[in-house]
Symmetry: C2
Subunit: 304 residues, 2 copies
């Protein structure tokens, strides 16, 4: 349920540099209203991953789908989610006579690799909630190594298509017959980032498996240690559960979201105190909180 | 579509004095979020009238229904709306596993009297929009006349059940055999109020018929005179159309809502100027605008 302090759930993964788009995970009621207060353009939404079908995670979908069309979105949009999402979206759009001008693909998923292209792999696993709920791991593939242009210049490689071949790992022959090896003029391939975004769940093995080695884990922390009995009752986690998943998975950074509306902003300090002995950075996300990933480091972008 | 200035549509008729409840007309996305910023309690929502099934009028329904239950609402709730509303609400609640703890009645209506009890009558008529759209007229029944207690005292009527009979129009016999007539000790019966709340529509005869003699008409004014061609194209009205309906219906006050997001708050003055020659009060509603009806007068309650 929304409160004055916090809206229902939606998490955005900005991939503007990588693909010129953003991906979204869950879409609670009034997500499109929140977007109005950001720099996000609905037409740049490329993929939408739904963790589970509870209302606070999906009721914003139909409105956002309609507005994306109204605002000129014409690129295809793919929605991934549990069985049931397709019939609901289709009946909702039909009932409200919403005519969408872009190709909408709705894929009801099972566990496993649900998406792969030349840049990214997305894996889904079932978590443990009161209804079926997925977590998603987004893995960026290794990035091409850096090409040292001063070395190719020194070797007399002409600017042009040969440089691209070298960057992509191929050896090339110059006009004078000399062979230049890719390894001579490039650095190490760079690992891509890995971010795991989990849905509502209690502490479970699949959260750990999915989070294994992730640079960033986004894990719910609906409750804290004092309210741990409620977490058990409703299939949710405490902030300590979230930290333990991250620790066992040897993940590098943790962002905790989905804080219960029973906690006031002034309570957050106390929640963080419960996990301050963990050796990796832990952030508790507020609405509109934004984090930047660069050079292997996660940094919170200062809010306005 | 919502903007930073205006949310999607929902109109509330507060009947706290009359029935201890409020009624709502349409329920666009994030209506429950707006309610958080008012004194309204979702558990006091008794009836919800849907004019038509476009998303900006219904996408807030499932969230509000769920939150009403979560917040302890246990009195029955009745929803009236066009064919299609029932299947959509039922699939939405089933898909999201929303268990509602109160009796939810969903009535798919046709034109005519759709509700009557000892206090109110509600009549619905079809308007002219791009999809079926209803307007609703809420008619309060005549109120019992005032009982003049100084007159009953002077006549020696004992305080107690006889007073109630006199107030309800019955003549009574005192212990000493004298007859006291109701008309001797009561004033005139008071007319109830009539408010007509119309959905999206172009100028049409049924708007006038429904609004006939209303104390208050709530009519959309999506466009203004300069954009009248768009109104025609999309089945909407201009503010002048709304005023003409009110004039032909000899209604007493007009509230214009559903202003297109193309108009900035600074444009409203210009819209009002287009109808300032009409001889009844005309208000253009902004989000959270509240009006008080007392002694045959409509007054805007100053915003905070």
């Amino acid at each position: 349920m929304p409160s004055k302090q916090r809206n229902t759930t939606a998490t955005v993964l900005k991939l503007l540099d990588e693909r010129g788009t953003f991906w979204m995970f869950d879409c609670g009621e009034a997500t499109q209203h929140q977007i109005l207060h950001t720099t996000l353009k609905p037409r740049k939404l490329e993929k939408l991953f739904i963790t589970h079908l509870h209302g606070d995670h999906i009721y914003g979908l139909p409105g956002l789908l309609g507005s994306r069309s109204f605002l000129g979105g014409d690129e295809p949009l793919t929605i991934y989610g549990p069985v049931g999402i397709k019939a609901w979206i289709e009946l909702t759009l039909a009932t409200s006579k919403t005519h969408i001008k872009y190709a909408l693909n709705i894929i009801e998923i099972e566990e496993g690799i649900i998406f792969e292209d030349d840049q990214f792999i997305v894996e889904a696993r079932l978590l443990e909630h009161v209804i079926p709920c997925f977590g998603y791991k987004v893995m960026q593939k290794s990035l091409p190594p850096e090409l040292f242009i001063e070395k190719t210049d020194a070797l007399g490689v002409p600017r042009g298509p040969l440089l691209r071949q070298l960057k992509e790992g191929h050896n090339v022959e110059l006009a004078d017959g000399r062979i230049v090896r890719s390894a001579q003029v490039t650095g190490e391939p760079k690992d891509g980032f890995q971010v795991t975004i989990l849905g509502d769940t209690k502490f479970c093995e699949n959260s750990i498996l999915l989070s294994k080695g992730s640079d960033i884990v986004v894990h719910e922390g609906t409750f804290d240690q004092e309210t741990a009995d409620l977490a058990g009752l409703y299939g949710h986690s405490t902030i300590v559960d979230a930290a333990n998943v991250c620790k066992k998975a040897e993940a590098k950074h943790l962002i905790v979201n989905h804080i219960s509306s029973r906690f006031m902003p002034s309570d957050i300090k106390g929640m963080i105190a419960q996990v301050e002995h963990y050796e990796f950075p832990i952030y508790v996300a507020h609405d509109f909180a934004e984090y930047d990933w660069a050079n292997g480091q996660l940094k919170k972008i200062p809010s306005e």
